[in-house]
């Protein structure tokens, strides 16, 4: 059998997904034995022009991580779509927008102003902000255009598979690689490397039917190590998050933040989280309920930390 041609690309990403791929440790050698890596900016020296020179559908599988934030991200999404037989949205950002998606709560102008002019660590007396085109004596130089909003990959090009996670766990990455190598991928459009159930289904913490009269924050109170976070009054997005990560956050002592995205059938992870979280509140009095919910700072970002660009309402109305 000819070796598989594999590519990995980062768009608006932190690099964590690439690190997670390397975290399969010595199995990376097995991947190298089964596949030729034809493009992987973080690890190899291929250029965009090398990809542009490839025939269409020449790459067998591209693992695309990162969201679409600027024109460069979008160009590479389209390019790699054309050059790949299978395009995988890899990690929360490509899957549902991820942490970069939180930027959809701000306007592009506010972001640029904050980053280039206002942050305490910025020294920019000439108030230079990025301009896509700049005239210099030698001609014109261009940089990517910063888009109005962040989008997951499938809002830009057709996606064949989704691997959730921020980042996907190495064990699941390995499962996905094996499925690819053995040609055992499921139906197109599927989420792979995750389960069809929720975090709660896999979580080993003790669950009773406990009702709470207030919320706590992990920074100020030590949670009991064996009891369900929600029943102790700590936020946990487990009820509205797809399983598959081996509940790594709950095992390390914090509630699930929701990075594996909504489970099958859930249209809006944040809205579902509202229902799930409020179901543990004890009170029936409007004023008391208000007191309790006011203990949750930043409701939207706590309840829909990873999926705003893939939700019913994809951005703040400005």
């Amino acid at each position: 059998m000819a070796k598989l041609k594999l590519a990995s690309y980062w768009a608006a990403a932190c690099g964590g997904c690439d690190v997670a791929i390397l975290d399969v440790h010595e199995k990376i050698l097995d991947i190298a034995a089964a596949a030729d890596i034809v493009f992987w900016p973080i690890a190899t020296d291929f250029k965009y022009s090398d990809v542009e020179a490839m025939p269409d559908a020449d790459i067998d599988v591209t693992l695309f991580h990162g969201a679409i934030r600027n024109s460069e991200n979008e160009h590479l999404a389209r390019l790699l779509r054309a050059k790949s037989k299978i395009l995988v949205a890899f990690g929360s950002c490509a899957h549902i927008g991820g942490i970069p998606g939180l930027a959809n709560l701000f306007s592009r102008e506010d972001i640029l102003k904050r980053v280039y002019l206002e942050t305490p660590s910025t020294v920019n007396p000439e108030k230079i902000t990025p301009d896509p085109r700049t005239a210099v004596p030698e001609g014109e130089i261009t940089i990517p255009v910063f888009h109005d909003a962040v989008r997951p990959l499938n809002q830009v090009v057709e996606v064949d598979y989704y691997v959730p996670g921020c980042p996907p766990t190495p064990a699941q990455i390995w499962n996905v690689v094996q499925a690819i190598v053995s040609g055992q991928l499921p139906e197109k459009g599927s989420v792979v490397g995750a389960s069809e159930k929720t975090q709660c289904d896999e979580c080993t913490r003790k669950k009773q039917e406990k009702k709470i009269s207030g919320f706590k924050r992990i920074a100020t109170v030590q949670p009991d190590p064996d009891t369900c976070f929600l029943e102790q009054g700590f936020l946990c997005m487990g009820p509205v998050t797809r399983g598959g990560c081996d509940t790594r956050c709950q095992l390390s002592g914090v509630g699930c933040r929701g990075c594996y995205g909504p489970p099958p059938g859930v249209l809006d992870q944040g809205a579902k989280a509202l229902s799930a979280i409020t179901s543990v509140i004890e009170s029936k009095e409007e004023a008391d309920v208000q007191r309790i919910v006011d203990q949750i700072p930043d409701v939207l970002r706590s309840f829909n930390r990873f999926a705003i660009p893939a939700s019913l309402i994809t951005r703040k109305v400005l």
Binding site: K127, T129, R133, D148, V150, R151, A271, I296, L312, V317
Partner: protein, 152 residues
């Protein structure tokens, strides 16, 4: 063209829907802007319904159920109280004005109150103008970055 608010009303079957019916049979005149969806209990109202209504172009959403203590299913509207309190915070985080969304208690005998509630939310939303939520969401989906940008 004058702006006519489109408001989605989600009403529980036992109190508020019956109350709205009474407003009709009593021939009370009130704003025609609320499109009514009947659910068995206000406790059935998943926050997803409200976000979906806004995402699909509603300018306002009104959830109505039995007064606390009167729910046909005893506890349903207590659940509503808890959910809606959080939902209001989430809508605010989305930049949606609080006047666009309301939870109201309307009993089966309060046809006149139903008419008042509808008139009042319709006026509030009319003052605000169109919600633009659908347009904003759609602009995310479009290749949004074509225009060049400059900051102050």
């Amino acid at each position: 063209m004058t702006f006519e608010p489109k408001i989605v009303g989600i009403l529980c079957n036992w109190c508020s829907y019956t109350g709205a019916d009474l407003a009709g049979t009593s021939r009370i005149k009130y704003a025609p802007n609320v499109r009514v969806v009947r659910v068995m209990c206000s406790g059935r109202v998943d926050p997803t319904f409200v976000l979906k209504a806004f995402a699909d172009g509603a300018d306002g959403v009104l959830v109505a159920g039995c007064h606390p203590g009167d729910c046909h299913y005893i506890e349903g509207n207590y659940k509503t109280i808890r959910r809606i309190a959080l939902l209001k915070k989430m809508l605010a985080d989305y930049g949606i004005e609080p006047q666009r969304f309301r939870l109201e208690w309307v009993s089966a005998g309060e046809g006149d109150r139903w008419a008042q509630v509808v008139n009042s939310i319709t006026e509030d939303v009319r003052k605000l103008g169109p919600a633009k939520i659908r347009e904003f969401s759609a602009s995310t989906l479009r290749a949004a970055g074509a225009r060049s940008h400059k900051t102050a």
